[in-house]
Symmetry: C2
Subunit: 705 residues, 2 copies
Amino acid sequence: MSEHSERFDALFQPRGIAVIGASADLTRIGGQPIQALLAAGYAGRVYPVNPKYEAIAGIPCVADIANIDGPCDLAIVAVRADLAADAIIKCGAKGIKFAIVLSGGFREIGGNGKALEETLIAAGRKAGVRIIGPNCQGMLAVHDRVFAVFGSIAGEIGLRAGNVSLCFQSGGVGFAIATLCDSLGIGIRHCVSTGNEADVKAPELIEALLEDPKTAMVGTYLEGVADGRALMAAGDKAMRLGKPLLLWKGGKSETGAKAAASHTAQLTGSYDIFRAACRQAGIIEVEDSEEMADLIRAFSAGRLPDGRSVGVIGISGGMGIVFADAAIAHGLELPAFSDTTVETLTRIIPSFGSSANPADVTASVFNDTAILTQAIQAILDDPGIHQLCLLLASVPDPIATQNAEVVIAAATRSSKPILIGWSLKRQRAENAYALFEAAGIPIFHTPGRTARAAAGLARYAGMKASHRPTPTAIQSRTPVQQLKAGVALDEESSKQLLASYGVQAPREVLVRPDQKLADRIAGLDYPMVVKIVSEDIPHKTEAGGVILNLPDLRAVELAAARVVANAENYKPLARIGGVLISEMIADAIEMIVGTVNDDAFGPVIVVGFGGIFAEILKDVAYRVAPCDAATARQMLEDLQGYAVLNGARGRPMADVDALVSAIVAVSNLAWDLRDQIKEMDINPLLVRPKGKGVLAADALIVPVG
Amino acid sequence: MSEHSERFDALFQPRGIAVIGASADLTRIGGQPIQALLAAGYAGRVYPVNPKYEAIAGIPCVADIANIDGPCDLAIVAVRADLAADAIIKCGAKGIKFAIVLSGGFREIGGNGKALEETLIAAGRKAGVRIIGPNCQGMLAVHDRVFAVFGSIAGEIGLRAGNVSLCFQSGGVGFAIATLCDSLGIGIRHCVSTGNEADVKAPELIEALLEDPKTAMVGTYLEGVADGRALMAAGDKAMRLGKPLLLWKGGKSETGAKAAASHTAQLTGSYDIFRAACRQAGIIEVEDSEEMADLIRAFSAGRLPDGRSVGVIGISGGMGIVFADAAIAHGLELPAFSDTTVETLTRIIPSFGSSANPADVTASVFNDTAILTQAIQAILDDPGIHQLCLLLASVPDPIATQNAEVVIAAATRSSKPILIGWSLKRQRAENAYALFEAAGIPIFHTPGRTARAAAGLARYAGMKASHRPTPTAIQSRTPVQQLKAGVALDEESSKQLLASYGVQAPREVLVRPDQKLADRIAGLDYPMVVKIVSEDIPHKTEAGGVILNLPDLRAVELAAARVVANAENYKPLARIGGVLISEMIADAIEMIVGTVNDDAFGPVIVVGFGGIFAEILKDVAYRVAPCDAATARQMLEDLQGYAVLNGARGRPMADVDALVSAIVAVSNLAWDLRDQIKEMDINPLLVRPKGKGVLAADALIVPVG
């Protein structure tokens, strides 16, 4: 499928490049790109712009942008921040379509820099020039030798060309990934450092890179996005095109305390939301540059497994063991081989080896290539095995070359992924390395990294199988309510709004201070629960405002008096609306279901177990709202404590179906009223045994404003 | 401090080496060590032993061990398994002190192999020959050119000599660590592959390596140890000598289901115990070969931080961010710099940089070395900063050399650790690399690996500060009880034994079927709890055998009848001893405290939160018993849910002191009766608010047998 649009062609294949603020000192920021472009052999013309010089690095210098006398699609801007907007206007007049602003001194320094950035943005819009940066390190289009960069990367003109494109908000981090890829034999196509993203932002660039027919996958390093749904849309596009999108998130640690009214919001970190959104959008998150490079190698082979099981062949028992440790830690499975496979292996492997998974063919492969050939074939033919990892330890040439030939032949007979773990220095087996590389069979330095890469393939295959496009604009299903800005709804109103979406509360009555308790509760069954009702006390438990398990009228009356007294003691000026008296639900598991309205991702639904212990352990799952039943069910399965719902230790099965419906309903409410609701939590949502439903025992809805 | 004994000198500095089962084919297992020893330049004599040849590789071959005509301390044995014992006997007769048995076909193949290994052990004992292996890959003593190995490592004679020694149960894994170290510039002293460990086992070898005056640290890869306390003793020795002992554990994943009576044992995996024991013994656990190599580099500098805080200088904001993510994930802190430091940094760093931590000195260091000099000095002088990480991204020479000079000069003025994160290819800055290496300043390839190494230094420094030698032989404090082998103590007897160690139960009475309930409970206060008493029902809750919160006599009587009926329903033939009626404790947090008697480590104490949710999440801490109060307190702090005990969310503080005393008491009981008790758990141990103590609400003690 192609979704190629031409809007970024002028950036990646410019007919000519102007360097504005060109410096005759080729070690300076205005000189380095000129040197890099010339050294790299860029085929178009380079136009240094600076009135002070006749020529720079042997090519004519023009005094002004207006004087450029040939086709020119791209400008590299290295002038002082306060001169940049003017340059952009002149670029527009000259028909230049893209400007990469390397200069710093904009938003990142605060104060006047912010104003300069606004001016820059306005200039770009007025002149019809799209801006990369400012405060960025530039861009590479390796095939077309566009080395529009400064810094250490400007010296890496030998970077090999390939089909991996990168986009990153930090040049330091991003170009380090590019050079790491290069050192591992991975070829690069385009690399863009986006800097402050005044105009062109990462999601738009990622989409452009995905649309490039010669890009097979995209890697990105992001510290944040203003529009989270745009990033998710890029993930959707990657899924549609079948091109892996790998993302490394920088800035995960939360800084500063949060002021949030709901437990849900207190449980929620912005990184938690970010990573849940990535997963939902089919974006493959990685933890560091080495994982990114390793996964790129794994994806480069173009094979995906049908499931999470892996078959392993090692020539050392220990290598198999450390592989298995890492594989299991990363969520893979090492099932027993089929009887047929075990029979074959037992026949061919020496007695001191192993036919279990991991199989240990021992150093016998040094003497007899046929053993390896047969073992590989048997495992690739095993229907229960989805991919094969071959751990060669540090086998040198000439054995390594024989092994490579065996593996390459086997790869032609199977479509399952084959990964090689091999720690030998390249110098001791140049020939075998070259054979593996030419055949596109990926090599990883340690068993652990091999396992992590295999797990990445399985993770991506799983996301692909279950991917659904991100909801972005679903119609509201109920008449829009008008909530009072900034004032938290009290428990009763919160429950009413939830009930209108189908999430019911226990049977309960509000008893106002002037009402007779006994009459009001006549229709309810014992035991009962008494709770204070006060808009000034959102957290009732901490105020001693909840008393459970009351067996009779006398106990309820005493408890009602007690919670009022406790509330007055806790907050002397609190307005008391009365007490809420509910039937006690004793057979339920307590959960928290809530939503937060994230600045970048909009409404996000949060599900976790209730109780102080669970809150402190933060066993919580997230999804961008709205979500469907399948997604809601997946959230529950994500919880470490999921077994609690699922009949662990002889407990009754909880009503997971009803819980799923409630999650979907709450997510719809959050989506419908996304302009009005800031936070919401149901705490606890009582999940009763299968068939008995769920009940919102307490609820809090906080409008924006 | 030196603890050098001479017992392993003959292994590491043999005066001559016999190769028994020598092969004229130098690619075979009996030929490779000969070639390696000769190629490496081993200075002693090599004696190939094989009646079939006159000479091998140009040196005379002897027909029999008895014919060896010069000093010989070490034999490399490569004969068939059934001939090995005989060779050992002959070695002993010749005065050979150590034999490295490379041959396989022993215990690892089961059956007859086990018998052959027993014979081998007996031969070694009789002949006075210590045996390394069998089924091992051999040994290196790099300084003395003892390349007594086969496999790929036999070709690595260029391995650089240094002060790091390694010991490993898998040659494949271990020699891969050695070659990885070499490629990172780390020099090796001794490497021993221990194989089946028929005679010499890893803990003894580790101690020998630690005792070697020219070994500065020891790295080990282990899949298991028979005597866990011996491994801990090696850890104690490493601590005493101030030599880091790094350990990578292989085989972490639990295989097969466990049959265990107590919740404690069900919660406990053998790897959990292993890692807790390592930590307790001051052994530094690593996750893979790269972490081991990186930590070795970090320790090689010989500097340790005084705490967990790290100051960071980067020349790219992104590098600082990804460093901070990794550092925080690994338990480091990045505190704000002192006012003085911030003042200095603000003065010298350009406005588009940052004076916060991580500091971003920007690419300005390219033009002005003085900025870097001052920034480093300011941060090293900051009393709140314990170590410095400098992130150089991919700065090339000549700037890199200037930076190296600045760093090396600063290092002479401070004793704080300084770590460099630098991703540049070595070829682009040979000079700077050489300078850093000569000065012993460690370099790491990525910010993440720099952070992990810094965290390793802090972790080790913390273990050093709190280290206490492992208890091995403490006298029993109470008369030894005689428990009935294999029969679980019922709740009452279990509680009595615990009470004799000072852990009390709630006020309660046992009511036998023939007793009148009302009379028996007359002295207790309501509400009460009723529990079934049956030695056939160890898990009462699952049998419907526990009813809580009974407000009056009538309710207690009904509940007593109910639990008996439930028990009969659950297990029709269960013997019913009566019901246990206790005062209900409503103000407590439920915990589990228990012990297991591990095959390798003996009695181990386990502490976690109670309740099904906590059990499923396995938030549990372990220590080898007995433990003191400080260790017990540390266990609690290890729990993710620790805040629950510590007054989280306005809850009362729990009686942590009483909990600590109970843990110590239980650990003493487990130690005193270690020959008799297999498992024990108190579930729940009710931890009441501060000053109110703890109570064992239920208890189960299972004797061995």
